[in-house]
């Protein structure tokens, strides 16, 4: 069997996530299964063609220096795949903006006659942060039984908690206070990337190679949100190892970017139709109008939730696909972040398909550590509890840490208390996902077509629409609003 055929015979032919789509219509054909296309893609003109199509599509979605730098890096990687890791590290250095705090609200912490100084920020914030990360990773790699190695996330959260307490309550002012908050902000923004890095260092036990983790701390294809896709060890496992694999991966990257562009165009028209033509407001405005005693028409109150769900799906698809498409062009066989969520038959399945890498973050950082420790003699309780912890506590913690400046503006305690509404929403979500997770899974195709393709997905989407009410309101307001929805009063 030729090497191209052996590559094409691999799971990308029909992994289970694509099983549903196997016989259905494809807008973008599976070019990566055509040996002629794969052969051509390994040649210089082929790579240039792929890069050109990718670059053109990317330029329609994004512009600015980041796009050109990304294309330059991808071009180098395409023609010099052996230098991939070096180029990834270079990309991380180019895109890392470790001084991003300088123009934020932090500057009001400085005395009036003091402007931030790049030199002071470098010496007292950026360098200490970099040294801290190196030290943590080195300890995790060298001492596999240490707390940092065994419980990396717990260690990082402990450091963060200490920083937050000092920043909020220590009697300091002026530049020292600004520096601690800036360090905390930077630490927060890299927290989940560091968690993966420490886990990787603990697993691989190579202290002299900790610096290779930096490529994954700030991937040039996208940053912010959960690490896409995960950390350095995961990247190594999904890296294209042969020219054929690289060609297939790049073709899939181009396809995904084209699909991203189509979704982005659809999103533009969808938003115009929903908000301008139909006049459907945002969910928050809808709930607020009802709270103020001036509710929108009942039909509008019903329509707002599914229309917003679709809007969020389109938004997250465009965002995630752009990142993963670029990642694939760099030679990594990453799974999509969003994959056919509207075909989900269970609540747990939707959770997996909608925001895959966020789910994986919660699974890696919360689910597995809980699962291997708790309720080992009761399988269903074990799965339920671990799922519940991940989808409630993990979810709430993640979203709380997205806005560290809330603690600066309103105080740490107030910032924690304002998360209680999101915690309630997470608890409901977690309950649904956990119950769905432990229910027996019927084999695909065992229920009727109508039930599998229409009824079940409709029920799943209805759940996510209704539970989302609590993301915009307190528990009591949410219950009252739902009562209004169902009773009309």
């Amino acid at each position: 069997m030729s090497s191209i055929a052996s590559v094409l015979a691999k799971p990308q032919v029909a992994p289970p996530r694509e099983q549903l789509r196997r016989t259905s219509f494809r807008l973008i054909p599976k070019l990566e299964t055509d040996p002629r296309v794969v052969s051509f893609s390994q040649t210089v003109p082929g790579k240039l063609t792929l890069l050109a199509i990718f670059g053109l599509t990317l330029s329609l979605l994004d512009d600015g220096w980041q796009m050109w730098t990304t294309l330059a890096l991808l071009s180098c990687i395409a023609f010099l795949p052996k230098l991939r890791r070096l180029l990834l590290t270079l990309g991380a250095m180019l895109f890392a903006n470790l001084f991003s705090f300088e123009h934020s609200t932090l500057t009001r912490l400085l005395p009036e006659n003091v402007q931030f100084s790049r030199t002071s920020d470098l010496l007292w914030i950026v360098l200490p942060f970099l040294l801290t990360t190196v030290a943590l990773m080195w300890v995790a790699a060298k001492y596999s039984r240490s707390l940092i190695a065994r419980r990396p996330l717990l260690t990082l959260l402990g450091i963060l908690g200490l920083l937050a307490a000092v920043a909020s309550y220590a009697p300091i002012s002026g530049f020292p206070r600004y520096a601690i908050w800036a360090f905390l902000l930077t630490f927060c923004s890299y927290l989940w990337y560091l968690a993966y890095a420490l886990s990787d260092c603990a697993t691989v036990h190579e202290p002299k190679n900790v610096l290779s983790q930096y490529a994954a701390l700030r991937p040039f294809w996208g940053f912010g949100g959960p690490p896409l896709p995960k950390g350095w060890t995961y990247w190594r496992r999904i890296e294209a190892k042969t020219p054929e694999e690289l060609a297939v991966t790049m073709i899939k990257g181009v396809k995904l970017m084209v699909w991203c562009f189509l979704l982005s165009t659809l999103n533009t028209y969808y938003l115009a139709f929903v908000h301008n033509r139909l006049g459907i407001p945002s969910p928050a405005n809808c709930v607020n109008a009802w709270r103020l005693g001036k509710p929108q028409a009942l039909a509008v109150n019903w329509l707002v939730w599914p229309s917003d769900l679709l809007e969020q799906l389109l938004k997250i698809s465009v965002w995630g696909h752009m990142i993963i498409a670029t990642c694939r062009m760099a030679g990594f066989r990453a799974l999509r972040n969003t994959y056919a969520p509207l075909s989900s038959r269970t609540i747990a399945e939707y959770w997996n398909r909608y925001y895959y890498y966020f789910k994986e973050l919660l699974v890696d950082m919360f689910f597995y550590p809980t699962f291997i420790r708790c309720f080992k003699r009761h399988p269903k309780v074990r799965i339920f509890f671990a799922t519940f912890v991940a989808a409630s506590l993990g979810n709430t913690l993640y979203h709380f840490l997205l806005h560290p400046l809330t603690a600066l503006t309103f105080g740490l305690l107030t910032a924690v208390l304002t998360s209680r509404n999101y915690l309630f929403y997470s608890l409901l979500l977690a309950l649904g996902i956990s119950i769905s997770q432990v229910r027996s899974r019927k084999p695909l195709g065992s229920r009727g077509w109508l039930r599998e393709h229409i009824t079940a997905p409709a029920c799943v989407l209805a759940f996510y629409c209704l539970v989302r009410v609590f993301e915009f309101s307190s528990p009591t307001v949410g219950v009252r609003y739902l009562t209004f929805l169902f009773s009309g009063r």
Partner: protein, 77 residues
Amino acid sequence: MTRQFVEGLLRKKGDLNPFSDSESLILSGRLESIDAVEIVMFLENQFGLDFRAIGFDQGLIDSVELIVRLVQAHAPA
């Protein structure tokens, strides 16, 4: 036994495609996190593995070959 168990998991998902012992199962997307959990419970029950002591990473059980290697390295005597 391990291979049969993995085949059973794939069959439940409607995935009847063949796979080799070295082929990626989880990282390729053929199996999901919940399936990894079932593999963990299978290894605990059949071979007495203690993942709390070993530490857990999906990469340890990403293929039949890796699972067998894990069992050989950590199963109690």
